[in-house]
Amino acid sequence: MDATPDYCACETLVLGCGNELFGDDGFGPAVARRLRHSPALPTSLLALDVGTSVREVLFNIVLSPVRPRRVVVVDAVDMGRLPGEVWAIEARDLPEIKRDDFSMHQLPTSNLLRELSELGGVSVTCVVGQVDGLPSEVRPGLSQPVERAVGRAVELILQLPAEEHNRGR
């Protein structure tokens, strides 16, 4: 058996993370599932619905001698934009003033992403969706704006590997 998990060796790894028990926090897993069933999914891209277990995957990537070129973390955020807005942001480019606002249920711990990006040589991109609100108590189900944002997030992610490819030319 190979010494490292298969996902460590893919070119682009998409991790849909979040807790589906908390409304729009299920954005990441929903995007990962949609992506897996996309007919446009390239063979170089692997999408995993990691739910609340993103740590399991990230630790192995951080420690593995073989790592993806790019890791895309998909998660819901509350950064004061319009509900359902989707955008990409590099982990290292998060504005400091926003870092403490970037609080979501199962977003990977900041250390792991930082270590992966700055010390591990992996390009880490966060594709985030603005929530319409997060329930303070358990209540599954995406809001309508965030449900509609799932498809836009898939399109955005599918463009990322192409950009990287073009950059290398």
Partner: protein, 481 residues
């Protein structure tokens, strides 16, 4: 002038925690608290649902130890339905529990707590991290990935899924283990066992001797302990009776279903998390490190203190040496790490034993169930402590009441006590530095707290932030690494 020191977030524990240290006018520690945010509303969410859905749903509570919640919920279902799983069903559950334990304990020792030991608590944060360890010990890092991967692979073969399991069902296990699957998994289990043997030997030779002084002093408090044992006092992580041990080593055994007679839950205004305490001791609740009342601990050290023996030979030999060296009950908080490695060895041995048991491939893995109005308590030892699921159903098997006590919650009061003890011993006259503050975090990390249900904070490069406030709440100083 009094000051408040805030450490937020605590790095390398899962979830978001904030440590606040209150200094008095002399610059000594007046109080110290760790605040966490608790998952709320889960119990209400479960009301009205078919109880058999809960083993699948509860894995979403916590992505850090989903198997523990899954199995505790399945056991609560067994009790609700009044059934006993067939031997193969029980053994498959135990096997998954053992494999999941090996994954978790390897990760925690080598990479969550490991940075403190391998790089040293005074090392710059730039190297005192997971990548730093991988650079300092690349061969071990590779082995850690491989052995955790083996664990995930084994769970996938045995149960179909490793992360969000679904195979533990009311009355047993939904998927029998085929002989060819057993033959596929057994060599993997043997390899993990070899790594477990290496891990404890490595730590005893290279790590623990360097920290003997810290073990004697850091976060040391005197408490009772809670663990699970069989009728003859043998350690068991899947099933048995609860043993609640007083600080003097005397203990009471009771069925898990009677937990509410022995354990109370204190609510304090400054914390979302409840504070379980030993109600049965009749002394109330007090978190003062010098004179605690009703305080007990769970997790690895607690389990080794509670039990009389371990059922597998290699772990038993290590257990005997541990007890000879540190006595019973051992109170030194950093010994949680040592105990964790003994448990790693035990689980690795147990997985091999179970896979060599001819009964493990029996096709009879599940007993039929019929809905009824009942109460059922399911209890397992999760890697982070005793995990209790308590359900009630109506005649149609719909949930009418749910109560959960998770491992980290049991340790809420002791963690706060250890933080205070550590801070008091290391911060004098307002003098502190980064190494001292990290030692406060070390005291917390020894408990391997899982705050996965809490809000995570994405703070980029700010892994640890220290803020000092005066008694009027004005920010006086900020430290960040």
């Amino acid at each position: 002038m009094s000051k408040t020191i805030t450490i937020a977030p605590v790095s390398r524990i899962e979830g978001h925690a904030k440590v606040t240290i209150q200094l008095d006018d002399a610059g000594d520690v007046a109080d110290a608290r760790m605040n966490v945010v608790e998952l709320r509303g889960f119990e209400k969410f479960c009301i009205g649902r078919p109880v058999e859905e809960l083993p699948r749903i509860v894995t979403s509570i916590c992505g850090v130890c989903p198997w523990s919640h899954h199995l505790a919920s399945a056991k609560a279902n067994d009790a609700v339905f009044g059934v006993t799983p067939p031997p193969a069903g029980r053994k498959l559950r135990e096997l998954c529990n053992a494999v999941a334990y090996t994954e978790e304990h390897i990760l925690h020792f080598f990479f969550l707590a490991g940075a403190d030991f391998v790089m040293g608590p005074d090392a710059d944060y730039g190297v005192r991290n997971v990548i730093g360890i991988a650079g300092a010990q690349p061969a071990i890092a590779k082995q850690v990935v491989r052995n955790r991967h083996l664990g995930a692979k084994m769970l996938s073969i045995i149960s179909g899924k490793s992360i969000h399991p679904v195979t533990a069902v009311p009355g047993g296990f939904s998927k029998p283990l085929a002989e060819e699957e057993r033959q596929q998994v057994l060599p993997m289990a043997n390899e993990v066992l070899e790594f477990a043997k290496f891990a404890i030997a490595f730590a005893k030779e290279n790590i623990f001797p360097k920290y003997l002084e810290a073990i004697k002093t850091l976060g040391v408090i005197k408490t009772g302990f809670l663990g699970t044992v069989t009728d003859d006092g043998t350690l068991n992580l899947y099933d048995g009776k609860l043993r609640l041990m007083k600080p003097d080593g005397s203990y009471t055994d009771f069925p898990a279903a009677q937990y509410a007679d022995h354990i109370g839950e204190k609510v304090l205004p400054w914390s979302y998390l409840k504070f379980p305490y030993a109600k049965a001791w009749g002394e109330g609740f007090d978190m003062s490190p010098s004179a605690p009342k009703g305080i007990y601990r769970t997790n690895t050290l607690a389990r080794l203190n509670a039990c009389d023996r371990i059922a597998t030979p290699l772990a038993q030999a290590e257990f005997e040496a541990f007890r000879k060296a540190f006595g019973r009950p051992a109170q030194q908080t950093l010994l949680y790490h040592y105990a964790r490695l003994i448990e790693l060895l035990y689980n690795a041995e147990l997985a091999v034993q179970l896979l060599n048991d001819p009964e493990i491939t029996s096709k009879e893995t599940r007993a039929p169930v019929t809905p009824r109005a009942a109460r059922g308590v399911g209890c397992v030892e999760a890697p982070r402590g005793t995990l209790i699921h308590d359900y009630e159903t109506d005649a149609q098997g719909m949930v009418t009441n749910v109560n959960l006590i998770v491992g980290t919650t049991h340790n809420n009061a002791p963690i706060n006590m250890s933080v205070k003890q550590t801070a008091q011993s290391l911060i004098k006259g307002g003098q502190y530095d980064q190494g001292i503050l990290n030692r406060v975090e070390m005291a917390i990390r020894a408990y391997d707290p899982c705050l996965s249900c809490a809000t995570h904070t994405f703070d980029g490069t700010l892994a640890v932030k220290v803020e000092i406030y005066d008694h009027k709440g004005q920010l006086r100083d900020t430290f960040a690494n």
